[in-house]
């Protein structure tokens, strides 16, 4: 319980710090947010009008207080360009981002587990070497390059899948999945490497345990030993990383959404950046950061409930 309390306190502190930082990014700007909003060609009177309209003349602390108060009621402000409430805009785009992340994770795990097991079993043999080398090459490909290569090969040359576009789930699962396949693959083909390496290394350690030798001595077939005896005790850190990666993925989906024209949070943020809509930018960054912190907290928590050693031992874990 004391562990939980400490973790909760830290969560609250980090969320508070993240919130303040998000606000300060706007407030402590060298230059003027009003200039940024109206654009470089604006006259001084126009800038003054915008400043008045957005309430930027008032002291920073007052603005911070008001912003926090609104935030507490779930109000992230209203978009400067579309007058859409930012909170609603984010929520309406959330399912797309979540679906993309989940699909990417599923594909990554589907690649990582069999290959990780295979590499551990055939440690330092040619299969292991080849997979490691391929993994190294793939992890060196930037996500946006992976996306373009996939578009080029799978949709432009082979014509199997659409290059961009979005079909909502309500118009049929198959059509929906077809539009998500390439974006999810562009993320998964990079993410699987880390998962595979992790599983491989943990599995190599497990395979040296006595109970594996015992299972071997009993004459069990290799696949049974690997899948039934060795996989579960080896997959612990894989599961943790899987959870933690969800946080990282939120950032990773940004660019993929914009390339494939998926209406997710990343695209909302980028549109906000290009239309100099700082309310949207602020809202999205705050949402992403808080989601990231909370997800990491939850993963941490689940992990510590699964493994009592963490609760007792790790002070900074």
């Amino acid at each position: 319980m004391r562990y939980l309390g400490r973790k909760l306190l830290r969560l609250v502190l980090v969320v508070a710090a993240v919130t303040t930082l998000t606000f300060l990014l706007v407030a402590l700007l060298p230059g003027d947010i009003a200039y940024l909003v109206v654009g470089p060609t604006a006259t001084p009177t126009e800038v003054e009008a915008v400043r008045e309209q957005l309430g930027l003349n008032r002291p920073m602390l007052v603005r911070y207080g008001e912003w926090l108060a609104a935030l507490a009621q779930g109000d992230l402000g209203v978009s400067l360009r579309t007058s859409e409430p930012v909170g609603e805009a984010i929520l309406s785009r959330l399912p797309v981002t979540i679906e993309l992340m989940l699909l990417a994770q599923v594909i990554a795990v589907a690649l990582a587990v069999p290959l990780g097991v295979l590499c551990a079993y055939r440690q330092n043999r040619w299969v292991d070497r080849v997979v490691t080398l391929v993994g190294f090459a793939m992890i060196s490909v930037p996500p946006f390059v992976m996306a373009l290569v996939l578009i080029f090969t799978v949709s432009l040359r082979l014509g199997w899948l659409p290059a961009t576009g979005y079909v909502p789930l309500s118009e049929g699962l198959w059509a929906n999945l077809r539009t998500f396949a390439l974006p999810a693959l562009s993320i998964a083909l990079i993410e699987w490497v880390a998962l595979m390496r992790l599983l491989r290394n943990d599995m190599i350690v497990t395979l040296q345990e006595d109970f594996i030798a015992m299972a071997r001595a009993k004459g069990l077939p290799a696949w049974r030993i690997l899948l039934r005896h060795a996989l579960r005790p080896s997959s612990f850190s894989l599961i943790t990383i899987l959870g933690l990666q969800i946080g990282t993925l939120i950032g990773g989906t940004l660019i993929i959404e914009s390339i494939f024209a998926l209406p997710g949070i990343g695209r909302l943020l980028l549109t906000g950046i290009f239309s100099r809509d700082y309310v949207v930018v602020q809202g999205c960054i705050l949402f992403i950061a808080v989601a990231y912190v909370v997800i990491n907290f939850l993963v941490d928590l689940t992990y510590s409930f699964l493994d009592p050693r963490i609760r007792v031992g790790g002070r900074d874990g």
Partner: protein, 309 residues
């Protein structure tokens, strides 16, 4: 009895020497090829202006998205008359020489990819070493503030900085350097923690050495190598980050060529002229892969020695 023991030791020593030699030989191609590629990129970036190439902004209106090897007529750098020129890597959508843009674009990638980690390593390394050595309150503050920065998804924070500060080379170097501080601090702290407990630090303390002396002469030299390995991976990550930003149009402003922007510019002609996109993409991937491979080999080199101590 004794003789066989000595013989055993000798054999073991020989085997060890052999193993070391074999390991060194295995460092071979997987290490030197990446080094050679990076050397080539650095050389290209440094001497970009000296090559008999058209300037990266020079446009050949007649040869748009030309295939590699096409011959066109264009002003070369430093000349005023048109002369015949073979586009070794073709031209982009507007008709600019891809090779020339590639070597000039390498400057942006390398400048950001090398200077930002330097900031991160200096600041983060110092913070990490101090936190790991002094523990207590210093450590709590450093770790907590690093956690807050790490709590932001890096790309979102990067976009925020690029958005608010405006995209320019110094801003980007600063932003990416800032982002690489927490991870560097972690590496430095973790290494310092284990070093601070080692015998030679204890010995220095027992000799009455000051903290400053111990930090500078005992700890820092030993943290340097793991940090260097980490730096290689950091460079790879930051080149990708810069590429992502310039792909989004949030890196150095347009007339300056950069790899990410070149990849983005080729996108509209991906079907008809894939080489416009794929050539800079390949250059970026190879560079990132090279830094990853070098980092991995270096780690393999220092880890066994570390564990044997």
């Amino acid at each position: 009895m004794v003789e066989t023991a000595i013989e055993n030791v000798a054999v073991a020593g020989e085997a060890e020497g052999l193993a070391v030699r074999r390991r060194r030989r295995r460092l071979g191609l997987g290490f030197w090829l990446p080094v050679a590629w990076i050397g080539l990129v650095v050389f290209g970036a440094l001497t970009a202006d000296l090559w008999p190439l058209p300037a990266p902004e020079t446009i050949d209106f007649l040869k748009r998205a030309a295939l590699p090897g096409t011959i066109g007529e264009i002003e070369l750098a430093g000349q005023t008359e048109l002369s015949e020129f073979r586009y070794l890597l073709g031209t982009d959508n507007v008709g600019r020489d891809i090779l020339s843009r590639l070597v000039h674009g390498a400057r942006v990638s390398l400048l950001i990819g090398l200077l930002s980690p330097l900031i991160g390593l200096l600041v983060g390394g110092a913070l990490g070493v101090l936190a790991g050595y002094y523990r207590g309150r210093v450590e709590s503050i450093v770790v907590a503030s690093m956690d807050v920065i790490l709590a932001f998804p890096a790309l979102a924070l990067l976009l925020a900085i690029a958005f608010y500060l405006g995209p320019s080379l110094p801003n980007l170097i600063f932003a990416l350097g800032f982002l690489s501080v927490p991870a560097s601090a972690r590496v430095a702290r973790a290494n310092t923690l284990s070093l601070a407990r080692r015998e030679f630090v204890l010995a220095a303390k027992a000799m009455g050495a000051s903290d400053l002396y111990i930090l500078v002469r005992e700890i820092v030299p030993n943290v340097l190598m793991p940090l260097l390995v980490f730096a290689m991976l950091l460079v790879a990550v930051l080149i990708v980050a810069e590429g992502t930003l310039s792909f989004l149009g949030l890196s150095v402003p347009p007339p300056t060529p950069s790899w990410g922007a070149m990849i983005e510019e080729g996108r509209e002609l991906l079907d008809q002229a894939p080489h416009v996109t794929l050539i800079p993409a390949a250059a970026m991937c190879l560079t990132v892969l090279s830094f990853n491979l070098i980092g991995d080999r270096l780690r393999g080199l220092i880890d066994p020695r570390e564990s044997r101590l």
